[in-house]
Each structure stands twice: as structure tokens, then as C-alpha cells.
């Protein structure tokens, strides 16, 4: 839907589909769990800061998972941390989304072969919506990841999909 202001000629009535309205509301205020893991978290913080301004997409860090809609797994997920992340994810209310940021969280990254302590991909623990590649991804890449997630939410449906 994009920006809505000055798009209508009549100021009393707006016609839209319930689905579109819900999706638009959801994708425009994705509050993230204030949570960072390793070097990628530094880039995530840079994305939140004034230069890249995550806030203009409605992404604000929330200190509690109960008030959040997305969790950005930004960095190396160790086995010890994975159990905690799972708990944080379970505490988030539905609908909830996951962005996996960086090679570590996508696949184990630099620890693929010899990391006895690293989970080889966050999707082994919780379902991931968008993968952002890079080590670390630049803030632009993370923004692109967020736009991809918004696109995904925009096409969500209230109707149950038929099982194939």
C-alpha cells in the first residue's frame, strides 16, 4: 500500500480489504526484540542509528519479547545461546517473524567446519522468514532483508491455505 496520505479524494470513507489493512498495520510497525549476538549486532545497531534509521520502517527495539513482533538473529548462535533464543521466541506473541542476519546465523558461517559450539543455521532451532547473507551484512543489506519481510507480510492471507 505504501504511503496513504493525500491518496484519497473523499475524507470520510476509505475502502480496503480487511486482509490488506491488517497486513499493512503489521508490516508498518515491526517492533524488534532488543537483542544482538556477535559482530553482526554492531551492524544492526548501526542500522538502528540515525544514518540508516531503521525507525523509518517502524522498527523500534523493544526490551521485552512480549511486546515484539520480530527477532533479528544478528550473529553467532552458540548451542548455549540457542536454547535461550528458543525461549525468547516462544515468549513472543503471534504473529511473529524471524530475520536471520549474517552467515553465522544462516549456516554457521566461519564456524561451519570446526565450530564445536556453533549451531549450523538458526533454522535448526526456530523457523526463519528471511535470510540476510554477508559477514557481516551491511546495513543496506539488512534494510533489504526487512523490505523482503514486509513484502512477505503484505502477501499474507487470512484464508487458510489448502494442504497440497
Amino acid at each position: 500500500m505504501g504511503l496513504l496520505d493525500k491518496q484519497f479524494s473523499d475524507e470520510n470513507i476509505i475502502l480496503t480489504k480487511a486482509e490488506d489493512l491488517l497486513n499493512w498495520a503489521r508490516l508498518s510497525s515491526l517492533w524488534q526484540v532488543g537483542f544482538g549476538l556477535a559482530c553482526c549486532a554492531i551492524e544492526m545497531m548501526a542500522t538502528s542509528a540515525s544514518h540508516y534509521d531503521f525507525d523509518r520502517f517502524g522498527v523500534i527495539p523493544r526490551p521485552s519479547p512480549r511486546q515484539a513482533d520480530i527477532i533479528i538473529i544478528s550473529g553467532t548462535v552458540t548451542l548455549k545461546m540457542a536454547t535461550r533464543i528458543k525461549r525468547i521466541y516462544e515468549q513472543m506473541p503471534d504473529p511473529k517473524y524471524v530475520i536471520s542476519m549474517g552467515s553465522c546465523s544462516n549456516s554457521g558461517g566461519p564456524y561451519w567446519e570446526h565450530g564445536y559450539h556453533v549451531v549450523k543455521g538458526m533454522d535448526r532451532v526456530i523457523p526463519v522468514d528471511v535470510y540476510v547473507p554477508g559477514c557481516p551484512p551491511r546495513p543496506e543489506a539488512l534494510l533489504e532483508g526487512l523490505l523482503k519481510l514486509q513484502e512477505k507480510i503484505r502477501n499474507e492471507s487470512l484464508v487458510k491455505k489448502e494442504k497440497v
Binding site: L79, K80, H117, V119, K120, R124
Partner: protein, 174 residues
């Protein structure tokens, strides 16, 4: 300020029974100390007015991987016998000298006296050495894992013959 050699001579005169050799394998010389005497030797090093070693720079553990290597069909292997070592780097900030000590213990019974009563900082260093290589520090106040999960039971990851478990709490590991 004293050199490693001079400190070695002092220790040799103080403990003629068990301090006899220096390890020359690495670039640095290291005075070899028996595992169950390290605490008293360190106490002497810390309190003697000519030595005054007031800080432990580094405590590291090492898998010497010098036992008999039993290879298995899947390419993994296990060591039978051999040794593990613990290396201590000490410094005196007053007298500006350093010394390196080395303790060698058998792989089957890697028990070393703790020095955490002398330098507090050794507490976490020893926990790490226990966590990664599996050195048991006797008289340590709180010898439990520090980096790996507390309930990790698949062994000590920096040993050369370590094998990753298939799963940890339902998460596939390798």
C-alpha cells in the same frame, strides 16, 4: 629484575627434590613443576621478596596428543595414554621480570593443584582449562564449566580426539 635462568636456579636451590629441569621444546624455557607441588611453588614465587610474582598473566592448558593413536573406521581417533600440560606465565609488576612454569599430567588422571588461592584471577582461567581440556584442579572453589553449557556431557572440546555429539537438547550439532 631476574632472568628465567636465575629464577630457575633459585627454585632449584629451594626445592632440590622436584625442580630439576626446564622444558626447552617451545621458544620459551619453562620450568617443570610437579602437579601436586605447583601451589606451594607459586606461593613461594609470590611471597619471596626477591621474586614477588604478583600477577598471573596467563594460565593455559594444552593437549600434547602424544599417546598411542587408536584410529577408528569412521576416521575419528582416540588417544591412549600420553599427557596434558598446563602452562603458567607469571609476572612481577614491581620487579619487572617474568617466568614460565609448566605442569605435565597424565591424560588418564589430569589432576593439578589450583593456584586460585594465590591469584584470584586463576579461578576463571582454571575453569576454562577444565572446560576446554578437562584438567581437574584440586582445591578449586568452584570448578564447573564456564563457556560450554553447564550440562555439557560430550567431553572436552579442545582435546585433539574430541568428537561432536549428534544432538544437544534436540538441536542437531554437526
Amino acid at each position: 629484575m631476574k632472568t628465567q635462568q636465575e629464577i630457575f636456579e633459585i627454585l632449584k636451590a629451594q626445592y632440590p627434590d622436584f625442580i630439576t629441569t626446564q622444558d626447552t621444546e617451545a621458544n620459551e624455557l619453562a620450568i617443570e613443576v610437579p602437579a601436586l607441588q605447583i601451589n606451594s611453588v607459586c606461593q613461594f614465587l609470590a611471597s619471596n621478596p626477591d621474586l614477588l610474582f604478583d600477577s598471573l598473566i596467563l594460565l593455559s592448558a594444552l593437549d600434547d596428543a602424544n599417546g598411542k593413536k587408536n584410529s577408528e573406521a569412521d576416521g575419528s581417533f582416540e588417544f591412549d595414554g600420553g599427557t596434558l600440560s598446563v602452562i603458567y606465565h607469571l609476572e612481577s609488576s614491581k620487579l619487572r621480570h617474568k617466568v614460565v612454569l609448566k605442569v605435565v599430567v597424565p591424560r588418564e588422571k589430569p589432576e593439578v593443584e589450583s593456584v586460585s588461592s594465590i591469584w584470584q584471577h586463576a579461578d576463571w582461567e582454571e575453569r576454562e582449562a577444565y572446560d576446554m581440556i578437562g584438567i581437574i584442579f584440586l582445591n578449586h572453589p568452584n570448578l564447573q564449566r564456564i563457556l560450554m553449557p553447564y550440562d555439557w556431557d560430550a567431553g572436552f572440546p579442545l582435546r585433539k580426539d574430541y568428537k561432536n555429539p549428534e544432538f544437544y537438547m534436540g538441536i542437531k550439532v554437526p
